[in-house]
Symmetry: C2
DNA sequence: TCCTTATAGTAAACTGGTTGTCAATTACCC
DNA sequence: GGGTAATTGACAACCAGTTTACTATAAGGA
């Protein structure tokens, strides 16, 4: 089946593209938020807290980000040390504080979002909205397929 | 401009999808080739040599993969120690040997490719070829846009 | 030829993530 | 209420990659 083979090739090339894009996006993302004294990793952690809308515990943030609790804890400790995140006592758990953006952290995140939108706009330049949305859905479908296999 | 904003949102969601997909693909890729005593990283190095068609030096492999020469050297040293790659004297350079797949390395890579095609086939299931190819081109366009910025 | 520059392997420190272990705390069930 | 199981932060070891630095070799030009 030639058609089948073409689908396989297309998926394979999408996979390779994802690997290359991931590296390039992280690299440029780091550059983008460097003036704000952020890194991609720190930015992502701030985003997880901002998205949640209310203070979160470390395991909650890790779950939202899809990384291990120990991994995110490193970034959280650093972000607290840098004053981007504030640690508040958790009335429901003595050892697991609630983490919220500080004023400085919120400001850095807001500025990062502005930069991000400029960046995304320039990246999408010249690509029709319909194609972008179609690509978005294909990637979402691949994600869904992967996570359903992961669950098994 | 609502249309403009939608494009920005679509690009942003594609970016986030790429991050999540990258993590999931690496995770499942590791599982895929684990029976062959490979990891995603080792697999990728074998692929770079296989693609080249002839023995390569470490810096050539690094350049082809888009990573630093020091980073790839770690994997190369490990792969040589595992017998996946053979080091041959380089008549053109005393200190920089030519690296080629061993019989064992070639066999492992061939098996990995078979597994990969089965994997890609199942991932693409249910997605029309036209959409896959369109998504592939969108990603390629984003890559091109990113690398042209990188070059500056 | 000799001097300078570029290339190559090695190594250490660092980033960002993982797994595994530990002790303390919390949650649950009888 | 009390005992057991799950959760949590801290720590250590590891993987995969980067940057920086050092030394040895190649390459190229005056």
């Amino acid at each position: 089946m030639a058609k089948n083979s073409k689908s396989i090739d297309a998926v394979t090339e999408i996979i390779l593209s994802v690997f290359r894009l991931n590296a390039q996006l992280l690299e440029q993302g780091d550059r983008l938020v460097q003036p704000l004294s952020l890194t991609s990793a720190r930015w992502q952690v701030l985003g997880a807290i901002a998205m949640a809308g209310e203070p979160q515990t470390a395991p909650q943030i890790a779950a939202a980000m899809g990384v291990t609790r120990q991994g995110v804890q490193k970034q959280l400790n650093l972000a607290v040390a840098e004053g981007l995140i504030e640690s508040h006592p958790n009335p429901r758990h003595q050892r697991s504080p609630l983490l919220a953006l500080s004023v400085k952290g919120q400001a850095a995140y807001d500025e990062a979002m502005v930069l991000q939108r400029v960046w995304a706009k320039s990246l999408g330049q010249g690509l029709p909205l319909s194609e972008l949305q179609s690509a978005k859905q294909v990637l979402a479908a691949l994600e869904h397929h992967l996570s359903s296999v992961n669950a098994s």
